[in-house]
């Protein structure tokens, strides 16, 4: 909402001492938030000039320019006529024009100086409205009325250039402030000064009908007012002050009749529609549209109407989308002399739905869908008639159609101390009553500290006691709210899951991984890039009905795409290697049907809530890691090492160790991993994810170094398995006995199998076992490998003898031979 300060001041008797800044500060404090203050972007001498001479000089290019001398009084310091070149032709000697003199700066930083052009020195400029930023008219320069002033007079005030326009951000609950009436009312409230309500008018008594009007839907249209004028002069220009105000408010000046309806809407907040009465056939009707009906609106769009749309009809059918936009067939034109003026009160919800359905936002719709004062229709129509008569030479026809009456507002009962209790400010009952009266409410005092409040008609947003509290508190001042810490919070700290999540993040960061936050949007192309087969369950996504990009119309089922993109970005920016991790939500469709919508007047039952939750997608938390390129840097100490499958598994094992989780690892082929270098990670036999080297195609697709590696785990499952209370470890301080064994096995036998067999065979004396070498080559047969294990034995209570250690080692080797075919070298 844009409100010129001059217009506000016309309606409120603000003291001269109140600056625009004071005004906006006060209004912001009351809830009308300042967005911007526009003022003419002009400095320097801008004065009235009288054209003395005008010599038309044809140029080689065919143009004719005017070499003028202009009397600018003493404004140029000499009193001599000013020589100015002007290209416009809509003026002549004797006319009063607007002259900008050298030294001035016009909008856009355009500095005026005397300069040589067309063989003359042009000392200034004769201005058009557009050059001054006060209108779009560029066809000619501004010619002032003969009585506008004397040469040399300052024209800032004359052209309204000294007027500032305040732009407010109006919240949905303050629809009344989408009018000067509303803004001025708040200003009056803010400075405690009288307010001249422009809606207070003596209305003519209803004297016959202005037009036959049949309202079929009194719920959609509780009040409909119509007036008629005839003899209107369609060529009459819009008076300067109306044109300027309409434009200051950000609307275009179109014609006198249209400008007047817009002007009154700005003034009062009531949208008004004017019909060319000669184009309206028969009675006006108000009803819902019928299936299949169409309407061409004023913006020349053909609209298919819905049975929920409210329309205005005549004998030809719909002629307007009620409250939102008029129709083309009855539009006022340059030949219109009889104007039918409509001002109606509409059901806000219906307006909102129609606007949304037709993707139509109009100044009228914006006000109607937020709620307008239902007492305004007759008043606004009368005001329009008044202006059409005054400025368009029209005659008001005596009839006045008024169908329906404003709905009654129920009274709200409120305890007088509620504002004090909810605000924490010491607000007395008297202040409560006075504040509510100040906003226009009718307050009736009841017994025992309660009052009955009927909100003013222009405040459809006020329906609850808490709504009244806000009104009282904003008038008392939000800045009066004291600062007091609540003292009764007795929480139990972070949950275990919350603590585990932090711990996992720290562990991964400690392992040299960098956390990433990426968008969860994916599409088929994303999964193709990962090389997922057509039937991969990860392709079954939760789709978005209105994605930002049609390429990524779904919520992701895997965190890898985001991480791979980030890795690729880092590599593209020159990083020799990158190690990233992310934790976040992935989603899988639940396919349990739609989520129910419940009422809001009572809590849903447990069963209902359960149904709500079941309808939601399954949303586990995942953890993913991508390691690409240099993992350990080369340097003066020696060679570095690139990331590979081992780094991926190392991350998994480090995390598992930190959480006290035992993970099992088995070989598995799964895209996007390398089929022979991918590990399935499980806990107690339940799969929780994969780790390993990425498939070469995936590395190529993302532009990542070969052998880049990745991990993706179900974080919820990992956290659930974390040891809750670590049992204190018992360990022996007896001497350690070392035995190393080298075992030859078939190449296909896994280290895990051999190790498990050794462990099993070694028995209780075994303290630890660790593979320290793998050998393939000349000294053993092809298709075999040699695994060297360090076995460490210790007894809880004694020093082990060589015989005991040897026996345990032999038992271990024997078991390995039995289970894996291992042969000791």
């Amino acid at each position: 909402m844009k409100a010129p300060v001059s217009w506000i001041r016309e309606l409120v008797d603000l003291p001269e001492s109140v600056t625009t800044e004071m005004l906006t500060d006060r209004l912001t404090a009351l809830g009308l938030k300042l967005e911007a203050v526009d003022s003419a972007d002009i400095t320097g001498p801008l004065v009235v000039g009288r054209v003395l001479t005008q010599d038309k000089e044809p140029q080689k290019n065919g143009k004719v320019i005017n070499w003028c001398t202009v009397d600018v009084g003493d404004a140029n310091g000499t009193g001599e006529p000013q020589g100015i070149i002007c290209g416009a032709h809509n003026f002549g000697p004797g006319d009063l024009v607007v002259v900008v003199l050298p030294g001035a700066v016009l909008p856009g930083g355009f500095e005026i100086s005397a300069r040589k052009t067309y063989g003359h020195v042009s000392a200034g400029m004769i201005c058009s409205a557009r050059e001054l930023g006060i209108g779009e008219d560029h066809d000619g320069i501004i010619v002032l009325p003969p009585d506008a002033g004397q040469p040399g007079d300052d024209v800032f005030a004359l052209l309204g250039l000294d007027d500032e326009v305040i732009e407010f951000e109006i919240n949905p609950d303050r629809a009344y402030a989408l009018s000067l009436r509303g803004v001025a009312r708040e200003a009056a409230l803010g400075f405690d000064v009288p307010f001249a309500d422009p809606a207070e008018r003596e209305l003519p008594a209803v004297d016959g009908k202005a037009w036959e009007v049949v309202v079929d839907d009194p719920v959609g249209c509780p009040v409909f007012a119509a007036r008629l004028v005839s003899g209107f002069d369609p060529t009459a220009p819009t008076p300067e002050h109306i044109r300027r105000r309409v434009e200051q408010a950000g609307m275009r000046s179109i014609s006198l009749a249209v400008d007047i309806t817009n002007y009154v809407m700005l003034e009062l907040g009531q949208p008004i529609h004017g019909y060319d009465a000669d184009k309206v056939a028969g009675a006006l009707g108000v009803r819902r549209a019928r299936d299949g009906e169409k309407l061409t609106t004023l913006d020349d769009a053909v609209r298919e109407l819905s049975v929920e749309d409210l329309v205005i009809t005549d004998d030809s059918g719909p002629i307007g989308l009620a409250g939102v936009m008029g129709g083309a067939t009855t539009e006022m034109s340059e030949t219109t002399t009889r104007i039918l003026v409509e001002a109606a009160h509409w059901d806000a919800v219906s307006m909102f739905r129609t606007g949304k359905r037709h993707k139509l936002t109009s100044e009228a719709g914006k006000r109607n869908e937020r709620g307008v004062d239902p007492l305004l229709p007759g008043i606004a129509a009368d005001r329009v008639v008044e202006l059409l008569v005054e400025h368009g030479g029209a005659t008001a026809e005596p009839g006045y159609t008024l169908v329906g009456t404003a709905p009654e507002r129920p009274a709200i009962t409120i305890a007088t101390d509620l504002p004090a209790r909810l605000s924490g400010i010491d607000i007395t009952a008297m202040t409560t009553v006075e504040s509510l009266r100040a906003i226009g409410a009718t307050v009736t005092e009841q017994d025992a500290g309660t009052i009955e409040v009927v909100p003013p008609t222009w405040r459809p947003d006020i329906n609850d006691p808490y709504d009244l509290v806000e009104e009282v508190v904003r008038i008392v001042g939000y800045d009066q709210v004291p600062s007091v810490l609540p003292r009764r919070a007795t929480g139990r700290g972070l949950t275990r899951t919350q603590r585990l999540r932090r711990r996992i993040g720290r562990t991964l960061a400690g392992a040299g991984l960098v956390e990433v936050v990426s968008f969860p949007f994916v599409g088929e192309a994303t999964f193709d890039k990962l090389g997922l087969p057509a039937d991969d369950p990860l392709r079954s996504t939760v789709g978005l009905a209105n994605p930002l990009s049609s390429e990524e119309p779904a919520y992701t089922t895997t965190l890898l795409p985001g991480l791979l993109d980030a890795a690729s970005r880092n590599v593209g920016r020159g990083a020799p290697g990158v190690a990233l991790f992310e934790t976040g939500t992935v989603a899988f469709p639940a396919d349990n049907g739609p989520a129910p919508i419940y009422g809001v007047h009572a809590r849903p039952t447990e069963a209902e809530l359960e149904k709500l939750v079941e309808a939601l997608p399954v949303q586990p938390q995942h953890l993913a890691v991508v390691l690409a390129g240099e993992r350990r840097r080369a340097g003066w100490w020696g060679a570095g090492a690139d990331a590979g499958w081992t780094d991926a598994l190392a991350v998994v094992r480090r995390l598992a160790a930190d959480l006290g989780v035992t993970v099992e690892v088995t070989s598995a082929g799964r895209m996007p991993w390398h089929p022979g270098r991918c590990a399935l990670v499980s806990i107690d036999g339940v799969e929780i994810g994969h780790a390993g080297e990425l498939h070469p195609n995936v590395c190529r697709a993302y532009g990542l170094p070969a052998r880049s590696a990745a991990v993706e785990l179900d974080l919820d499952a990992l956290m659930a398995a974390a040891t809750e209370v670590v049992p204190g470890p018992a360990f022996s301080t007896m001497p350690l006995a070392k035995e190393d064994v080298a075992l030859v096995v078939d190449a296909g036998v896994t280290v895990a199998a051999v190790e498990a067999a050794l462990r099993e065979g070694a028995g209780e004396l075994l303290e630890s076992i660790r593979l320290f070498d793998v050998y393939t080559g000349e000294q053993i047969d092809e298709g075999q490998k040699s695994l060297a294990f360090a076995l460490r034995f210790r007894a809880p209570d004694r020093t082990l003898t060589e015989a005991e250690t040897g026996a345990a080692r032999d038992a271990a080797v024997a078991r390995a031979a039995e289970l894996t075919g291992a042969v000791q070298r």
Binding site: A29, S423, D467, V484, A579, A602, R632, G635
Partner: protein, 365 residues
């Protein structure tokens, strides 16, 4: 004072003569003093204290002396050997110390050599920022509540007094999941977590809800379809706007420094009534000489978030007795808060995953 020596051998006795002993001792001491390194001292030890050294020989001769002479000779030889041995030990210590010192000098390295073999990790400031905020509230006895990002329409809107035709629904451009009549959305705020908390717990309730939210905003330097919010909810007997102000003032000063307080301006949110915008004293200029301040652009205040007294309609939908309890709620963007706090120019740096950005913040904020 020597007694008679029946086996007296004048040749051998000469070796234990006081003069010879003194000469041998002095020669040994001189050699010890002259040794300049451990190698030399080792040779000196062999020559002057070894088995073939004059003092060792003299010692061996004592046994040859007549009994009455042995004691005195023994004393003299012992003293001489003691002196040599002590000098050797002392010299050994000195030379060892010198040696050690020299090695330490020789082993000096260029400590400016790089040591960055292992890469640096780091946690994302959005994570650590949310943790910092959570910790501020946990320290006040609040708890941290969480909920799903893909949420039921009823919880995201209806339960929060945003009915199907509420104009405010158009203020939040919502991602709807398919099919669109499934009534499931990507949550547009973390408020459904508040609703869930009220639906599942009984007051008093003091929770903060940090989390990821979505709106169909085009991605640019200040907008993102995904961003992060933290909301707070307190439901208790006698809760007022004063408690809200106190809590936010505390939060602001913990987050931005002592003396950073908040201001309320009337506003509108369907889930609160009365509602307020929260502004923060500009933590750069602190409202003093703001005109030149780039952070607040001369305002002295920074828009931080929204808040208010929980609308009783919300309490009703969530099963809280609105006659007995009142509550306050607030919400602000974590991304935005971090942008102020750390002077970030472009929101997109948070989501690009450039490791240079994240590692700058380390693993705690």
């Amino acid at each position: 004072m020597s007694g008679p020596n029946t086996d007296y051998d004048p040749v051998e006795v000469a070796a234990v003569s006081p003069a010879e002993l003194e000469a041998a001792r002095d020669a040994a001491l001189a050699a010890i003093a002259a040794a300049t390194d451990l190698e030399q001292l080792k040779a000196v030890r062999t020559d002057h204290a070894g088995d073939r050294s004059p003092l060792a020989l003299a010692n061996r001769e004592i046994g040859a002396l007549p009994p009455q002479a042995r004691k005195e000779a023994g004393q003299r030889v012992g003293q001489a050997r003691g002196a040599v041995s002590k000098a050797l030990a002392a010299r050994q210590e000195v030379l060892e110390a010198e040696h050690e010192a020299r090695i330490l000098v020789e082993e000096a390295v260029d400590v400016t050599l790089p040591t960055d073999e292992l890469p640096l990790g780091g946690r994302h400031p959005l994570t650590t920022g949310a943790e910092l905020i959570a910790d501020i509230f946990v320290a006040m006895g609040w708890e941290v509540a969480e909920g799903p990002v893909i949420e039921a329409e009823w919880l995201n809107f209806d339960a929060l007094n945003l009915g199907p035709d509420h104009p405010a629904r158009t203020m939040q451009d919502t991602f709807w999941t398919e099919p669109a009549d499934n009534h499931v959305v990507l949550r547009t705020h973390t408020s459904p977590v508040q609703a869930r908390t009220m639906l599942t717990r009984t007051p008093p309730i003091y929770v903060v809800c940090p989390g990821r939210v979505f709106r169909t905003d085009e991605y640019d330097a200040t907008h993102s379809p995904m961003f992060h919010q933290v909301e707070g909810l307190a439901i208790d007997e006698g809760i007022s706007m004063a408690h809200l102000k106190g809590t936010l003032d505390h939060f602001a000063s913990q987050m931005f420094g002592e003396g950073i307080t908040t201001r309320f301006r009337p506003s509108y949110f369907p889930f609160t009534e009365p509602s307020a915008e929260v502004d923060l004293v500009c933590f750069v200029c602190r409202g003093i000489d703001s005109d030149a301040c780039r952070t607040c652009r001369g305002e002295g205040w920074i828009e931080w978030g929204g808040c208010g007294i929980v609308n009783p309609r919300v309490l009703q939908a969530c099963g809280v007795d609105s006659e007995r309890y009142s509550g306050f709620a607030f919400g602000m963007g974590i991304d935005r808060t971090l942008m102020f706090r750390h002077g970030l120019e472009d929101l997109r740096t948070l989501f690009e995953g450039d490791v240079r950005f994240t590692t700058a913040f380390g693993s705690e904020l």
